[in-house]
Homo-oligomer: 165 residues x 2
């Protein structure tokens, strides 16, 4: 088996977490991550542009099987929902434009269920299980946005590969 790659994305206008896992037919492994930031002082269009460029740069590094973006159902209010929604839409458009074989969405509940086996797991539990799945030990050096993105990638890999790993 050769290695195939899955990308998970935790979207946000301030910072977007990108995590990539590899799958060689037998088990999952850590492949890479990026924390894509935008300058809070820039215009909204320029901030979206920064997030898009950062995601595109990561897309170019791997021969991806597919990518998934964490779904968001709730938000503090309509204004923050609009900002987060636009960021997520811009990221989805970037993945669609890259003509990946598949672009998926998973809710936080689905991701936690896949990674921890429990849909209401705390973020810290998710981080520990991500490390166990990928056989890495970064502890608190693994930012939550990256941990969440890697969890999304693991969920995608489980979803797309027919056999459990």
């Amino acid at each position: 088996h050769h290695m195939i790659y899955f990308m998970g994305i935790d979207p946000g206008l301030n910072k977007t977490g990108v995590g990539i896992v590899g799958w060689n037919g037998g088990k999952l492994s850590y492949a890479g991550h990026a924390l894509v930031k935008s300058n809070a002082k820039a215009t909204f269009i320029d901030r979206l542009g920064s997030i898009i460029s950062g995601v595109q740069a990561e897309l170019g590094k791997y021969e991806l099987h597919s990518a998934a973006v964490e779904d968001v159902f709730y938000s503090v209010n309509a204004k923050s929902a609009l900002l987060l929604g636009q960021t997520r839409g811009a990221i989805l458009a970037t993945l669609i434009a890259a003509k990946l074989p598949a672009v998926c969405e998973f809710t936080a509940l689905q991701i936690k269920q896949a990674v921890v086996g429990y849909g209401k797991a705390e973020k810290e539990q998710v981080r520990k299980m991500v490390e166990l799945h990928l056989n890495i030990e970064m502890g608190t050096k693994l930012p939550m946005d990256i941990s969440d993105a890697l969890a999304c990638a693991i969920c995608l890999a489980q979803n797309q590969t027919s056999r459990a790993y």
Copy 2:
């Protein structure tokens, strides 16, 4: 003067209005429009894909000076804000990816102020003024989504051209 083109977009997941106006250095004219729809029974990703493809098709038809998307501040609730936000973000990402010289945003208030001279104008007034600006007579055959998109294009043209027309 040769003709230069401005695109205005009224974003929506069900239907997105696209309007294009031409400017020859002396006055504005109607150049084209499209009502881009998505299939309500398709997945959200496929629906975004339809909107993106439709906007890309229009981008390919004109040598655009710039494009603008109507801003949205309010929404019925956070859920609809997330859907509208994602659609708007996907459209902005498509314009940014097309490497247009400028991608802009205008609020409904700015657009109405530019087209009608009154920020709280009714949609019907906007439609009539759009027809007057562009010297067209379509009456009720001009859908509101297109009228709003053309109004956004007129606002953009006024904003980007130094002289009043």
